[in-house]
Amino acid sequence: MMPATNDLNGYIAELEARLETAEETLRAIRNGDVDALVVAGPDGDRIYALDGAEHSYRVLVEHMREGTLTLDRDGLILYCNQQFADLVQAPLETVIGRPIHIFLTKESDRLLRALLGTAGAAHRRAELNLISATGEVPAVVSISNLNGSHLCAVVTDLTEQKRNEAMSKEGRLSRLILEQAAEAIVVIDRDGIVSRASEAAHRLAGRNVLLQGFGEMFALHPVDASCAELLGGTVDVDRLLATVQENASLMAVEVTLARGAQAPVSLLLSAGALRGSEGDLIGCVVTLVDISARKASEVALARQAALLELSNRDLRDFAYSASHDLREPLRVISLYSQLVAERMAGQADGETTKLFDEVLTAANRMGLLLRDLLSYVNAAEDVSHHAMTADARQALDKAIAGLRALIAEQDARIVVGELPQLRMHEVHLVQLFQNLISNALKYRSEAPPEVRIQAERDRDMWKFSVTDNGIGIARDYRTHIFGLFKRLHAPASYSGSGIGLAICHRIVQRYGGRIWVESEPGAGSTFLFTVPLERAEMLTEDQ
């Protein structure tokens, strides 16, 4: 049943009167006009008399910066000052008479209950987290026994202290970072003045750079012309700031640092903008990484490589002209011998004719040797500068075409699997196939020769295999055969210069691959070689 309007109005009037009384009481307490307080609770009224409390103490309590409460053993707030109410961001009148537990985090509540339970100790302290309307407030609570059943609690706000602690921890950390960093780190303000610097930065400049102009402390010269255009021939701090302002960061620009009489240092300069809370530029952080040692070793390496290249070229030229020039007189020996043999025909005895045949055979053999030596020299040709794509199938077809006569003569079968595109000179690939196939045909067994050529991916390489059903190779000779002029058989039994596999080895090696043989005597051989997949840097060359 709804209460009558009159009843409600009466109820409101009564409540207002009670509120006024309560407020008056609070005012009185705050002003020190009250000596005792009666608080109504579920178990009946509790009376709290401010025994012996002087007016001046109450004034002190009301005006101290700490929150102050009196609690009963259950944690009921019998009294608190305005500061405590402010801490938990609740109206004072709603705090008094409520259990303190509702203003604590669960963890802190547990702690406080433990504190309240330890009746014996006269004075206890603990760090707690209060719950305010807007979040948690770190605080330290000191609890003292007031009399038998009541306790006095003083609550100190730790927010500020915690913040200071955190900040000083951060400050210590960044100081340590600057002390320990191996790189020169320089913080520049908006005016180009060094506000902070790592130890390495001071060392690099050879003096204390703090509060000095960055440009005066570090005479940096960009190596790259476009960077010099951007930052100045000697890095200008205003232009540096303007650049990071626009682009937010500058990464690894190579610069040299002039250091008076000392040798200049090669550095990589990086810079990033420092912005305030409004996004406005307040400075920048410059990092300078010393790459002098790396540069020096690069230079040494390049010099070494150039020397090596030079000596290689010398050797190549020597081998080329030697084999070329040696062929000339040999050709004359051969042709003249043939002429003499022709003119003696019918007149010379059998032995003389045989001797002349020997001369011709030797001259021809030497001619072949020199020709192959030339191929070997050419196989060393530098492949890095003009690598191109070769279709392995096409290269193989060319090799087979070159061996057509031999294949027909031996009644050989060539079986070919699927072959990839490669980043190689086709001529080198043809030479590889030609040498390996002719090798397989040369060292055939009684059975009609069969040669299988296949390719498969092996991680970042293509692995080719040339398998035959020939006489095989004994284990001891498997590396030996890739040497120059290495032959396992007398020239009489197998023809050839002994350079073929050395050429293969050299070509494969040149492309960063590997060549080897797997074989058992009498069970055929498989020659395997690898060449790398197309390399990223080679791809870019084509673009």
Partner: protein
């Protein structure tokens, strides 16, 4: 037929002469032993119309003083010898040399062989290139 052989190696001069004889090619074989002498001969032909010209040039690529390639250039730039067949002779199997010579106007490039029968084919080549004027 008049043939100029520009060759510094006497053995090759002998072999060319032998090949001509063996193959029955009737030719008057003049020789020059370096590039400079050959070029002078070509210039002399232009300077003096009364001198008898050549019907074929055989030029070794690798010559002292002036190279075979230079001699070829001078022949192609001359008045009287510009359209005469030129066979460049080389001991190099390098295809670069061959292509370079053909681009410069050589009629044929002959790689010096090890086999006598192949060497003698040079004489037949000279014979085949000879087309005496109808007049």
């Amino acid at each position: 037929m008049r043939v100029l052989l520009v060759e510094d190696n006497p053995a090759d001069v002998f072999l060319v002469r032998e090949a001509m004889m063996h193959e029955g090619v009737e030719a008057e074989l003049a020789t020059a032993e370096d590039g400079e002498k050959a070029i002078r001969l070509v210039h002399n032909l232009d300077a003096d119309p009364s001198l008898a010209g050549f019907d074929c040039f055989l030029i070794d690529l690798n010559l002292p003083r002036r190279s075979g390639a230079e001699v070829l250039r001078e022949i192609r730039a001359s008045v009287r010898s510009a359209s005469i067949p030129v066979i460049m002779i080389t001991s190099s199997e390098a295809s670069d040399d061959r292509e370079q010579a053909l681009r410069s106007g050589a009629t044929h490039v002959f790689v010096k062989p090890f086999r006598l029968s192949e060497f003698r084919s040079l004489a037949r080549l000279v014979q085949n290139l000879y087309h005496p004027a109808a007049s």
